[in-house]
Structure formats: structure tokens, C-alpha cells
Amino acid sequence: MNEHRNLIASGLAIVRRHKRYLVWLWLLNLALAFLGVAGLGNRLHPILDHSRYADKLLHGFDAAVYLELVARPEMGPETASTAPAVPFAFLFFLLTLLFLPGVLLAYTGEHRLPREAFFRVCERSLWRFIRLIFFFAIIAVPVVAALFSLHHALVKAAEKDMNELLPFYTMIATLGLIALVMTFLRIWFDLAEVDVVLRDQNMVRKSVASAWRHSWRSLGRLLGSYMVIAAAACLVLVIGIWVWHVVVPPANVVGAFVVSQAILIALLGMRFWQRASAAAFYMREMFVPSVANPPASAPPLSPPDLPSPGRELARES
């Protein structure tokens, strides 16, 4: 438990030390989503801006009025207003993929990472991270597909039972199991990502193999840390929405924006907290300092960015 707390605390300290990455990524998240919903706004304003009937959506939220609104022909087909949000969400994923190596490098260093170093590592690692995604997909898709097949089969079997609640309990149990397995996969590949960056590893399969060994060996510790943070994220979401509902008056659009963005930045921070915990774990358990035979040429990454040799002893097997 103490180890969990240390890992979690270390991760939190890292995220706090490097807040600027979180802020930049949140701004990216915000800007891309803004572009995604711009079309919706363009459709809404002509219908609502001069209508007194729109008050039913401002002072409260009348679901029947909202249904009527989205059924208006001016709103276009059902998905026309909201579909653009999906490609922008995908773009956010791609940009996160692009910038994550720089963030991970910074997370494993003591000092602020120079901008050039940040972008250099992003550039060097892009193709490696894309390959990691492929590895992840090759492993995760069949595993998750098999788990979801099992989930559907068990829920269907439970539906035949006379106990009406059994399908629900079955669903919760199987989805919980799927979440655990997926979290483990995420831990595995989070460690692999750190390894790829710190070792400047071009053969990502070696990072995947190394990360597998360590994540499996320290399964309880890592899974515990990740699940604690994930539970905190769920709490943030639930409490945040509750605060949004209770504290912010329905007609206060600015207040709603502030609270909603606070929730989102906190959620984003939770994921980076997990990554930072993985980085902290890596530095303690997996990092091998190049002490014996330092390369003749410059090390893969500038020394100030790497932890000082000997600070943590490697336990690489």
C-alpha cells in the first residue's frame, strides 16, 4: 500500500512539476472540440437567438423542447451537427500521440526540458509510437473482442434467469474485468512508451517485451496505482457534474463553461497522472544508466534531461 502511495505521490508530483504540458494539451483539446462543434453553433444561433421559446432551454433544460429543436429541418440530418466532433476527437488523439514522447521525456527528468529537445524527441519517436499503437492493437483487439464476446454471452445467459438483476450484476462484473484487463494493457504499453523514449529504442518490440516483464512482475502495484487514479477520475467526473448541476444556475453559460472545463482539465490530468506514475515506476525499476561503457558519441538524449546515474539502481533482468 505504501508503495502504491509512493508511486501515486511521485506521479502526482511529476504532473504538478510539469503543469504546462497539461495546460497545452487541454488547450488543444478545447480548440479542437471548439472547431468540432462550430457547425452546431452556426445552426443553433439562427433558430434560438431571437426566439422567446428558447428560454425553455436557457432557464432549465426542457428535453421535449430540445427534441423539437434537433428535429427542425434547419438543423439538418441528425448527425450533421455533431458528426464533425468525431474527426476532431481523432485529431486530438493523433496530436497527443505526436507530443507524448516529449512529455514522457520531461516526466523522467529533473529539469525543464528545452523546447528543441522536446520537439526533437517527438520527431524521433513518432514512427516508433505509431508502431507501438499497432502492437497495442494487435494485442488488445483480440483480447478485448474475446472479453466482450464473453461478456455478451454471459449477460445473455443471465437474461434467461428468473432473477431480473442477474444480467445487471453479470454486466458489472464482466465490464469490471474488461476494465482491469484493459488497464493492464495500458500499463504495459505506457511503460513501453517510456522505454522507447528513454532508451531511444528503435526496435519497439524490445521495449514491449521489457515492459511486459516488468508490468507482469509488478502487476499488483501498478494496477493498484492505475485503478486508484482511475477511480479518482470517475469521482472527479461525478462530483464535477454534480457541482455543475447544483452550483451553477441554468442560465449562467460562463459558469457552466468554467466548471465544465475544470472537470475536463482535471480528467486530462488524471490520465497524465497515470503516465507520470508509469514514468516514476520506470525510473525506479527499469531504468539502466549507461555507466560502464558510455557511448563515444553524445548520449541519445541530453544529460540534463535524464536522471543522474546512480540515483536509482536498475533492476533490469
Binding site: 483539446n29 478545447l30 479542437l32 472540440a33 462543434v37 453553433g41 443553433l44 444561433h45 434560438l48 437567438d49 431571437h50 426566439s51 422567446r52 421559446y53 428558447a54 428560454d55 425553455k56 432551454l57 436557457l58 433544460f61 426542457d62 428535453a63 421535449a64 423542447v65 427534441l67 423539437e68 429543436l69 428535429a71 427542425r72 455533431t82 466532433a85 468525431v86 476532431f88 476527437a89 481523432f90 486530438f92 488523439f93 497527443t96 509510437f129 499503437i133 497495442f136 437474461e159 434467461k160 428468473m162 432473477n163 431480473e164 438483476l165 445487471f168 495500458r186 512508451e193 448541476h245 441554468p250 442560465a251 453559460v253 457552466a256 463553461f257 465544465s260 475536463l264 480528467l267 486530462l268
Partner: protein, 673 residues
């Protein structure tokens, strides 16, 4: 179309049938005894004049039929063997030699009209429909008392379409006509195979809901037999009478049924027989499940005490009080507003989840619909229970033809549903009031209608609508909306009075649409044909909009003229446009920036109207129907216009989507990288 009788399960050979009948005779209880031996020689009426099941010393309806049924249910095979003695009193004023009978359970076969129509409309309920889920209602023997066995004379007919495979209506021609005022008795042995429920009736796991489960005679109405086939969107139509039903079921079953329970006898073979009796009803339904939990309540009705039986699923038991409350509150509103509930019982069944048997009405017997997780601010159980209870009035007692005039039961009932739920749960919160999100039944009825506003008139027969959506939107939503809109023409109190007069005058009869519309005209003292022709018989669409709002200084031509609030005179113009073809008089409220409000009236006859003003104030906003009483208006957003734009509503909604989009992006990224 006429076809020969063939047994739905592939029988038909005479020897086989006789053998089966002999075996059936051993399996069933002794048949109900006929009260006469010859139909044409019978007394004027053999219909009992009992009042056991009603809070009235005398019969309430003109009783045309009496069903005396004995049936044994096999819970393992979901089958039932029954014998019925049907007494029909010929009150048609003319001799009758043809009698049609509904065999509704035959609808649940792949070649039936019901299934064909359901499939053609793309209903997903049949996507995984297997032969073991089919249903059937097979007549084993058919005898006319005093005449003899006419099984071979029975043949299927298809009065509505040319589907010769549809076996939901069978007809017999008697050798001698039944004179007016005389009675005839039919002794029918039948075998039911209940379907796994796809619509209203059948079994699901160990639950069964038996609706339309026995051969049932059609209705002589408007000078002809009215006995339609079972269609995908239609319901039922039957004459009032008396039902005596003996049901034999396994002892572990918990039962609920139409009417009152008279006795319960346990047998040594592990079964028991429950005897039920119902007066002045036109159908009989029952349900059984070993797992029902039963709540019993009492209600002091206007005509006498009413016992409320609530049969709940075990996982829903904590919602029993919710069900009891809405039932009592609905009874209270209906009795005060429309008239008394005369029956001694009301049974509410919470059906098996996923059984497709929820939300259905039978006389003194209704089914609700809920889930174990239903939050307290989501009033779907209340909505369903109130709606089905309302059918005790609009279908149960005012027994309109559900095949042909579906709006008269579903639509009028949707209107009273809005009124009752508004009264109990609040106008804007009667369906949903959860976490700041609200929805009222009134607006949801309107929403259901506006998407199909010009497709079908209300007067369309139920099975002839363009689609499920049009049937639902017009039959339920449009009727409710047009009656709510009518309140703005004749007044809410007058409308309520008209409904009360309509109920009082036509209860225990089969009124027509004109009976209803004439009653409203009579009570209101107004000629409303202009409205009914558009709203009931037509497909006109109602949509008014604010076309223009403009104010400018009256001295605009003077250079350097400065504007001062309260001193400068302005010329203002407001234009209202009737966009569609439904003509309806409207109120228009014009607000000025000095706080002044004006109400204008426009008869809507022309396509547009212009109001001009010269005042020391600019027009701030215009609103058509400021009291929101015209529920038929297809678009309420264009009913008003404010001079100054107010972007907050659009920004608020955009912010919701912004949040959702960002969350989606984060979730994607959370798991993938």
C-alpha cells in the same frame, strides 16, 4: 375472401379431429351447461343480469353477450384447453344467420396479416422470431345449441385484405336465422398455443398474459358485422356482456384477472381452479406468474369501494407505492372530472421484463411497465399506469371501435393523460424531472405529432396509416394536441364539461367520431366544423411565424436627429405569416421597450397580417400565442422574435456539445495512447 377451415397446426382430418375431441373431453372439466336446447326457441334473453362485480344495483350496459368459459392452462407448454358457452342476444333489429368470430392468437403465425404487416413496416420484434414462439387459437369443436355440431361449417374469412392465409377471423352460417330479440348459444371447444409475446399477449419465461385468448364474436355495428382481422397497429372491438370464467392453473401460480374472484378450489393433482366474474365488460384477460408480489389497496370510489390489486415483479416491489399512488390519483381525477368508475376491482400488472406485454388495457385489468432501476424523477411508470387506467374510460366504458377510430380511444386518452399528469406531476415536469432536465407530457405529445403532421388524417383506419410513426404520432399525439388546442377556442372548463357529458352519455355504448364531435359542439354552443374539418378530417398543418419586426424613428428624414428613449417617436411594423394551410385565429403579443404590452387578435384567414404603430417606444419583441395554448403549431421557435438577439441559449447548448466532444476525445486518447 373465404377459405376452408384448416387447423392452424396442420390438422384437418376428420378422424384425427374426432379422436382429439374425445381425448379433450377427458382432459377438460365438464363443459358449461347451456341454458336452452334450441337457439331459435330460446327466451328473449339468456344473458344474466348479475351485478356482483359492479357498484350498481342494476346492469349498466345493454348486455349483448355472455361468456361462460372453463379453461385449463398448462404452464410448461404454454397451452390452454378451453370450452366456452357463448350466449349472443340479437339486439340488431333484424334476423342474423352469419356470425363472425375473432381468433386473435392465430395472428402469431408467419403468414398472418399481422406478421406480414409487422415485417413490412420493418419492426425488429420479429427479427429473431422462431417457430417455437408462434401462437395459435384452434377451434376443436363448434356447436350451436339446438342445432348441432357446425364445426365443418366454420370457415376463415378475410374482410380487410386478400391474405387467404390469415386465420384471425372465422365465420359460421346458421341453417336458420336468429330472429331479432332472440338469443343463440354457441358451445366452442378450443385449444390455445400462447406465443412468446411479441405484442400484448403470450408468455415470457414463467409469466403469461392471456389477452384475446378465446373465440370472440364480432360486433353488429352500423348495420353490419364489424369483425376485422388482427393487424399490426390495431386493437379491438367487442360488445358488452357478462363473463364467468373458471381458470385451472398450477397451484404455485399467482393470478390476476378481469372482474372479481368468486372462489378458489385446490385440486389433488397440484392445480387449482379460480372462478372469476365480470359484469358490463367487453373482454376478459388474465395473467399468471409464480413470482408476482401482490399489493392490495382500497379506494373509496364515487359509486362504492374499489379494490386495487397490484401484481409486481419481485425486483420492482419497492416501486409498489408509486404504482398505488398514481392509480389512486388517476382515479381521483377521472371520477371528479369525467365520471364514476363503477367496477369493484382494478388489477394492475407489472409484467415480466422484456415481455412486450406492458402498457396494455383490458376491462378492470391493466398492465404497466417499469424497470428495477427506474429513478424517482423519471415518471415512465406513472405515465404508463395513468394512460392504461384512462382506457378504463376511453375504451373500457366508452367502447369505441379501436380498429377504425383508434384516435377515439388512444387519442382522447392521451389528452386526458396530459390533463391528469399535468395536475399530479406539473405541466413541464410530468414525464421527467431529474438533475435539472425536465419534460412534460404535453410537449412530448406534440413532439410525437409534428414529425408526421401531414401524413394521415385522424379519420384513417388504424391499419391503413403510412407507418408506425404516423399511426403513433397522429393517433396519440395529434389528438391530444388538437384537443388541448381546442381549449383555447372553447375554454378549458367547457372542454372538461364536454368530456364529462360525452362520457356520461356514451358510456357502455359504441360511439362514433361524430358523436364525440357533436357533443363538444353542443356543450360549447359553437359551430366547430371549421376546426374539425382541418384537424380531424384533414391533414392541414398549422404553423405561424413572425415574419418581420422593425422600428425606426418617425423623423428619420431629419438630419442630425438624435434618439432619446421615451421622447423620440418611432414607427414600428410587425408582420405575422401563416406559413401552412391550417387556418386558426391567433393572439399576438407585442412588447415595447417602455414596458408596454399590446395584445392583437388575428383570424388567420389571409396569409399574413401587418400591425403598425407609432409610439415613443420601439418594439422589443413579438410573440404569437403568448399563452402557449396552440399545441398544434408545428414550430414554436418561429412564434416569437426579439429585436435584440440573445445568444445565451445557443451558447449553452454548444457548451454541452463542447464538453461532450472534449470528453470523447479524452476517452479515445485515454485508452489508445
Amino acid at each position: 375472401m373465404m377459405t376452408d377451415l384448416s387447423l392452424p397446426n396442420g390438422g384437418g382430418m376428420v378422424i384425427k379431429r374426432l379422436l382429439f375431441l374425445v381425448l379433450l373431453g377427458h382432459a377438460l372439466p365438464a363443459p358449461p351447461q347451456a341454458k336452452s336446447t334450441a337457439a331459435t326457441a330460446a327466451g328473449a334473453s339468456l344473458i344474466p343480469v348479475t351485478t356482483l362485480a359492479i357498484n350498481s344495483p342494476a346492469p349498466l350496459s345493454q348486455r349483448v353477450v355472455a361468456y361462460d368459459i372453463e379453461a385449463k392452462y398448462d404452464a410448461k407448454t404454454h397451452t390452454l384447453d378451453g370450452r366456452e358457452l357463448l350466449t349472443y342476444h340479437n339486439l340488431t333489429g333484424q334476423p342474423l344467420d352469419r356470425f363472425p368470430f375473432h381468433l386473435y392468437l392465430n395472428a402469431f403465425q408467419p403468414t398472418s396479416t399481422f406478421v406480414r404487416e409487422t415485417k413490412a413496416l420493418g419492426d425488429e420484434r420479429l427479427a429473431k422470431w422462431k417457430p417455437e414462439f408462434w401462437g395459435a387459437d384452434e377451434i376443436k369443436s363448434f356447436e350451436v345449441v339446438g342445432v348441432g355440431d357446425l364445426t365443418s361449417k366454420l370457415h376463415f374469412i378475410q374482410p380487410d385484405d386478400d391474405n387467404v392465409d390469415d386465420k384471425t377471423v372465422a365465420e359460421v352460417v346458421l341453417p336458420n336465422a336468429i330472429p331479432p330479440g332472440q338469443s343463440v348459444q354457441f358451445k366452442i371447444a378450443f385449444h390455445d398455443q400462447f406465443p412468446e409475446t411479441v405484442a400484448r399477449t403470450g408468455y415470457k419465461r414463467d409469466f403469461v398474459l392471456a389477452g384475446q385468448w378465446f373465440p370472440k364474436v364480432g360486433v353488429w355495428w352500423q348495420g353490419a358485422w364489424n369483425c376485422h382481422q388482427f393487424h399490426t397497429t390495431t386493437e379491438f372491438f367487442a360488445d358488452f356482456g357478462v363473463y364467468d370464467v373458471k381458470l385451472t392453473v398450477p397451484q404455485y401460480e399467482v393470478l390476476g384477472a378481469t372482474g372479481i374472484e368468486l372462489s378458489s378450489v385446490h385440486h389433488s393433482d397440484g392445480t387449482r381452479t379460480e372462478t372469476y366474474h365480470a359484469d358490463d365488460v367487453h373482454d376478459f384477460a388474465w395473467t399468471a406468474s409464480p413470482r408476482f408480489k401482490v399489493g392490495e389497496h382500497g379506494y373509496a370510489g364515487a359509486m362504492g369501494p374499489i379494490k386495487l390489486h397490484i401484481l409486481m415483479q419481485p425486483a420492482h416491489w419497492r416501486q409498489e407505492a408509486r404504482h398505488a399512488r398514481i392509480l389512486k390519483e388517476s382515479l381521483d381525477r377521472f371520477e371528479r372530472w369525467y365520471g364514476p368508475y363503477p367496477y369493484k376491482t382494478l388489477t394492475l400488472v407489472d409484467p415480466e421484463p422484456g415481455s412486450e406485454a406492458g402498457g396494455m388495457e383490458y376491462p378492470t385489468f391493466i398492465t404497466g411497465g417499469t424497470t428495477w432501476w427506474m429513478p424517482s424523477g423519471l415518471y415512465l411508470p406513472e405515465l404508463v399506469v395513468e394512460h392504461e387506467f384512462g382506457h378504463q374510460y376511453w375504451y373500457g366504458m366508452v367502447a369505441t371501435n379501436e380498429f377504425e377510430d383508434a384516435w377515439m380511444d388512444e387519442g382522447i386518452n392521451s389528452y386526458t393523460e396530459v390533463k391528469v399528469l399535468d395536475s399530479i406531476l406539473g405541466r413541464d415536469t410530468s414525464v421527467l424531472n431529474l438533475l435539472g432536465v425536465t419534460a412534460g407530457d404535453r410537449e412530448l405529445q406534440r413532439y410525437e405529432y409534428i414529425g408526421v403532421a401531414d401524413l394521415d388524417p385522424l379519420s384513417r383506419k388504424a391499419w391503413q396509416y403510412a407507418s408506425f410513426g404516423s399511426y403513433g404520432g397522429v393517433t396519440y399525439g395529434k389528438t391530444a394536441s388538437l384537443l388541448l388546442t381546442l381549449e383555447s377556442v372553447i375554454g378549458e372548463a367547457t372542454m372538461q364539461n364536454a368530456m364529462r357529458v360525452y362520457f356520461t352519455r356514451y358510456r357502455f355504448t359504441h360511439p362514433t367520431p361524430e358523436d364525440f364531435l357533436r357533443t363538444i359542439e353542443e356543450v360549447s354552443g359553437k359551430n366547430l366544423r371549421w376546426y374539425f374539418n382541418q384537424a380531424v378530417y384533414g391533414t392541414q398543418v398549422l404553423d405561424y411565424e413572425v415574419l418581420r419586426l422593425d422600428s425606426w424613428p418617425a423623423n428619420w428624414y431629419e438630419k442630425q436627429a438624435s434618439e432619446k428613449k421615451g421622447e423620440t417617436s418611432y414607427d414600428s411594423v410587425v408582420m405575422i405569416h401563416r406559413k401552412e394551410d391550417f387556418v386558426f385565429p391567433v393572439e399576438v403579443e407585442v412588447r415595447f421597450d417602455n414596458g408596454e404590452k399590446l395584445r392583437e387578435h388575428w383570424d388567420g384567414q389571409d396569409r399574413w397580417v401587418k400591425f403598425s404603430y407609432r409610439k415613443k417606444a420601439k418594439v422589443e419583441s413579438v410573440e404569437i400565442d403568448p399563452d402557449h395554448r396552440i399545441q398544434l403549431d408545428r414550430n414554436d421557435f418561429n412564434n416569437s422574435w426579439t429585436a435584440q438577439p440573445k445568444p445565451s441559449p445557443a451558447r449553452k447548448l454548444a457548451n454541452y456539445w463542447q464538453f461532450a466532444s472534449q470528453l470523447l476525445a479524452q476517452c479515445l486518447t485515454w485508452w489508445l495512447v
